[in-house]
């Protein structure tokens, strides 16, 4: 049997696809901003407060990193209404994405903070900076600059993982694909088009994060390059 590809039916639903793309971008952008903020707060809490806070943060990170995103999503969507927190699918998706990304970003940023040399912190303290000031001005930014590539990969992975939100009927890109597939019965064509869109989204996110990293940390990343050169020599 020769299969006849028919893309017309899929392209007829361009409006729907566009909405799906916008929701995917919105969810990913929201999760990146909120997740990054959450991670910075948690890393700060870990280095500024005592052991108990650190253990709580660790527990959250390990819990999130060792269970599937899908199960976390189900917990938010099906579980939370039972304790009176009612959310739409999209809100539940954003919450699950933020919490998931927050855990991974916490782990990545912590690694960056650990890589800051003790002498830098001592230098800060000897300038009569408070612990908070040292964290803010001496530790955080160089740490972020150092782990920016790893963070970027994690952000791209989150964009790809947002496709799983279609499991709770969120009409983002792959949720839209499921609807179009039911309307047109053109499953393969639909998923080819949607896959290509994901490819374009992921690659442009990757490129723009690299560009953004160079914009935010121009001096710091060049300093790191000098460090690396000095070490190699």
């Amino acid at each position: 049997m020769r299969y006849q590809f028919q893309f017309d039916a899929v392209f007829a639903e361009a409006d729907r696809i566009l909405n799906g793309v916008l929701l995917t971008i919105g969810l990913s952008f929201g999760a990146i901003v909120l997740g990054l903020a959450l991670a910075v707060l948690l890393v700060a809490a870990k280095s500024l407060f005592g052991r108990w806070v650190g253990m709580l943060v660790d527990a959250y990170v390990e819990l999130m990193r060792n269970t599937p995103f899908l199960v976390q999503l189900f917990m938010m969507f099906f579980g939370l209404p039972l304790i009176g927190i009612r959310m739409s699918g999209t809100e539940a998706a954003l919450l699950a994405m933020t919490l998931n990304l927050g855990a991974y970003a916490t782990e990545i940023i912590r690694a960056g903070v650990d890589s800051i040399h003790r002498s830098q912190i001592e230098a800060g303290l000897s300038l009569a900076m408070t612990k908070r000031q040292v964290f803010q001005y001496v530790v955080l930014m160089p740490a972020l600059a150092r782990v920016w590539p790893a963070l970027s990969s994690q952000f791209v992975l989150m964009l790809l993982a947002s496709s799983i939100c279609s499991f709770i009927s969120v009409p983002e890109l792959s949720g839209t694909a499921a609807i179009i597939e039911q309307n047109t019965f053109r499953s393969f064509e639909t998923y080819i088009v949607v896959t290509l869109i994901y490819l374009a989204l992921a690659l442009s996110l990757k490129v723009s994060l690299l560009w953004l990293g160079r914009r935010i940390f121009p001096r710091l990343s060049s300093l790191d390059r000098l460090d690396a050169k000095a070490e190699a020599a």
Binding site: R65, N66, T67, P68, L70, F74, F167, S174, F188, T195
Partner: protein, 217 residues
């Protein structure tokens, strides 16, 4: 309406076996493909290098869910009616191959290039160099991230529930549809995933320490 009792718990625990089986199959097939890709990626022939890096770039830039749909619907278009289990393992293997190829290529490249020179100055052929000098060191380097990636794979098997294959997540969904006690059910499901993944995460972290112990900076 049924409640969440022992039969349901047993049903979910049994489904965890399918998750493990799927992980093992995807890891084995994907590992073989990934090994070949890593070699292609390092080959001297430009075309082969290009092909491998193109494949890796594309697979790493699309959701696993899309790979799954493409193999599930794509294969059936060409008259190949596969049970969901095959579509699931095939797409997970494709996903695994792209990531392991990169991990292993990185590990091979991380072996200091002086090792190549030393080996060839001992009149080793390239094959001998790989076999006796490079690979033993590359395997040490690659072990922690490979085990770490296994955790990602276990978790990602959860998405094959969408093509109707009953593994751990799907079992949880089915029981939830029947009993509607999501907190208990998904806590159990999450706990089982955690029980599988957490030891692996720890092992990966432990290997990182052990394998790096002899490595001067």
């Amino acid at each position: 309406m049924t409640t969440f009792g022992w039969p349901e718990v047993l049903f979910i625990v049994r489904a965890a076996g399918w998750t493990l089986l799927l992980t093992a199959i995807a890891f084995l097939i994907g590992g073989l493909m990934g090994g070949v890709l890593a070699i292609l990626r390092l080959s001297r022939v430009k075309l082969l290098r290009r092909f491998a890096s193109g494949y890796i770039l594309v697979i790493q830039s699309i959701p696993v869910l899309m790979v799954l749909f493409m193999s599930y619907y794509g294969l059936s278009l060409f008259g190949i009616e596969l049970p969901p289990f095959f579509a699931a393992s095939a797409s997970l293997a494709i996903y695994v191959s792209a990531y392991l190829a990169e991990i292993w290529r990185g590990s091979i490249e991380a072996v200091p290039f002086q090792q190549w020179e030393a080996s060839s100055s001992l009149a080793h052929s390239p094959a001998q160099t790989y076999r006796y000098v490079i690979l033993p060191q590359a395997v040490r380097i690659s072990l922690p991230p490979t085990v770490g990636f296994l955790v990602q794979l276990v978790k990602n098997t959860s998405i094959v529930s969408v093509v109707g294959f009953v593994e751990l997540s799907r079992a949880g969904q089915l029981v939830n549809n029947a009993t509607f006690q999501p907190f208990q059910i998904f806590t159990l499901v999450a706990a089982i995933y955690f029980a599988i993944c957490f030891p692996l995460s720890r092992l990966s972290r432990h290997l990182e320490k052990v394998m790096n112990a002899s490595r001067p900076h």
